[in-house]
């Protein structure tokens, strides 16, 4: 069993590595590897590679990894196959922040992070605090309350976004719509380095609690009776994953489906023992978003398709196929 898992994990790692290494070389401007050493004077190609494509691939990998890891943690904690970090209103909070920023026409940047990203991050943080606050108001800590509070906050924020989008001018309205579709059009490594600490610390926290996630996947009573301090563990997990997702969504917009799909696909391949599932999910999620972004850049080049559209278009049918193919294998939570 363990050996089998080791090989699957190795295979996923190899494929991910290959995708990440090859992706930056593909694009409208061809970039053969030798331009990196700048011999035949194609400075444009080298510039495109270093300043556009490489950061974009890196950000894509980080974002995919973060969304997938957070989705995996949420599915286990809620014992619900459909739970994602977006369920707690993180994405709608971020979207509200971004919309407000675009609507009011703020334009500044701090340490290379744009006003839209910063507003989105604080929006995500704000919605997390509201949802968490509502949860704590009711006596005890119940994931059901949290889930419902998240849905309520999401719906409320979505209406505010629609309202603002309706009230604003046409250009801003389009910018808002475009942001909501998600994308990774960054220049330089600033965005990557600002997301990096969030993602690394988030994934580290999830990995630290991998065994607790196994127990939560069976049930909260089961976890508590095995000695898990459920409230503390869940609080740590919620905070770490939401900050991680907030950091990513602020830069890339709410990219759907990866958080829900990547963990399920990996469960089918490697099982639900979270100590193996997490590395698989992180690698697969990162690789999948890089691939989707590649398609987004290439399909109707020189124009681009928003990457969120691609993830949903690919993810939806694939997910349905998985659902119909497997009936019982221990791969799904519910």
């Amino acid at each position: 069993m363990s050996r089998h898992r080791f090989w699957i994990l190795t295979a996923i790692a190899m494929v991910s590595l290959a995708v990440v290494v090859i992706a930056p070389f593909i694009g409208i401007i061809s970039t053969p590897p030798r331009v990196l050493w700048g011999d035949n004077g194609s400075e444009l190609a080298a510039d495109v590679f270093w300043r556009l494509r490489l950061p974009r691939v890196a950000l894509g990998f980080l974002a995919g990894a973060a969304l997938a890891a957070a989705g995996m943690a949420f599915q286990a904690m809620f014992r619900n196959a459909l739970a994602t970090p977006f369920t707690l209103g993180v994405s709608s909070g971020a979207a509200l922040g971004a919309t407000l920023c675009i609507h009011l026409g703020w334009s500044f940047s701090i340490l290379g992070v744009s006003a839209v990203s910063l507003s989105a991050f604080f929006g995500a943080l704000g919605s997390l605090m509201i949802v968490y606050g509502i949860t704590l108001c009711r006596s005890g800590f119940s994931t059901t309350t949290m889930l419902l509070a998240g849905v309520a906050v999401s719906l409320f924020f979505s209406s505010l976004i629609l309202f603002m989008q309706y009230m604003t001018d046409l250009t801003s309205s389009f910018r808002i719509l475009r942001w909501l579709m998600g994308g990774m059009e960054v220049v330089g490594f600033r965005a990557v380095t600002s997301a990096f600490p969030f993602v690394v610390s988030g994934v580290a926290v999830v990995f630290y609690f991998a065994r607790e996630l196994n127990l939560f996947a069976v049930g909260d009573d089961f976890a508590v009776s095995r000695g898990v301090d459920a409230t503390r563990t869940k609080t740590a997990l919620f905070l770490a994953t939401t900050l991680m997702v907030g950091g990513v969504v602020a830069l890339c917009g709410p990219i759907g489906f990866i958080g829900m799909m990547a963990p399920h696909i990996c469960r089918l391949m490697i099982g639900s023992e979270h100590r193996y599932l997490l590395p698989a999910t992180v690698l697969f999620g990162g690789m999948f978003l890089v691939l989707c972004d590649l398609l987004a850049r290439m399909l109707i080049a020189p124009a681009e398709i928003p990457v969120g559209v691609i993830t949903a278009l690919l993810g939806g049918p694939f997910f349905v196929w998985l659902l119909l193919r497997r009936s019982s294998s221990g791969a799904f939570l519910t």
Binding site: R211, N214, A217, D221, S225, R226, G227, E273
Partner: protein
Amino acid sequence: MSIGKGEFVCIIGPNGAGKTTLIKCLNRIWRGGSGGISIAGKPLNHYSQGELARLLAYVPQADGRTAPFTVYEFVMMGRYPYLDAFSSIRSEDDKVIRKAMETTGTSDFAERFFDTLSGGERQKVFLAAALAQQGSMLLLDEPTTFLDPRHQIEINRTLKRVNQEDGVTILSATHDINSGLGIAERIIALKAGKIIFDGPGDVLAGTNVLRDLYDHDFLITQHPKTGKPMILPEED
């Protein structure tokens, strides 16, 4: 109420009497309420959840829940209170896990997925996971409800063995009065959170407690082989 080491106690009572609440308060799945609980002379809230888990193992109600794990992985989770975040299971853990599966008769499906098992098999696996926890007390919430007779008997036999051979204290909440009378040394009857009877099964059979407990009449007879009292609800 106080439960001694090595006792086998059954809690009976109508729905809503507080059987499940009692068990969930003991292992702190539920907190709060008034009154105090002490385990081995130490108040409950002086224990960390991990310390508590090394003392008390718990088998939840068979509510049809499933888990995305193989049976071995599932039983392995019983070792949680003995491991820290980065340690993997040692050979002594493996031994405990194998023994728990052997005791419960689940070794044969070690590598099968939990959700491919029948209800009775699942309950045995839950019991194995609790045994792997090596607590000195086992808390069971309706361990045999919804199971077929063979699985009921097998589970009860395992409990009896664990109680007698390993000296594990057992506290089991059940609606199955007859199996309680058959296997427990001591019956505690709860009604609306109050203890209305505490004593051996044959004494219980000679009183009106059951009638008060369930607001229903019962016929008391004897098991033709063991001679133990058998309780039958009276037909109107």
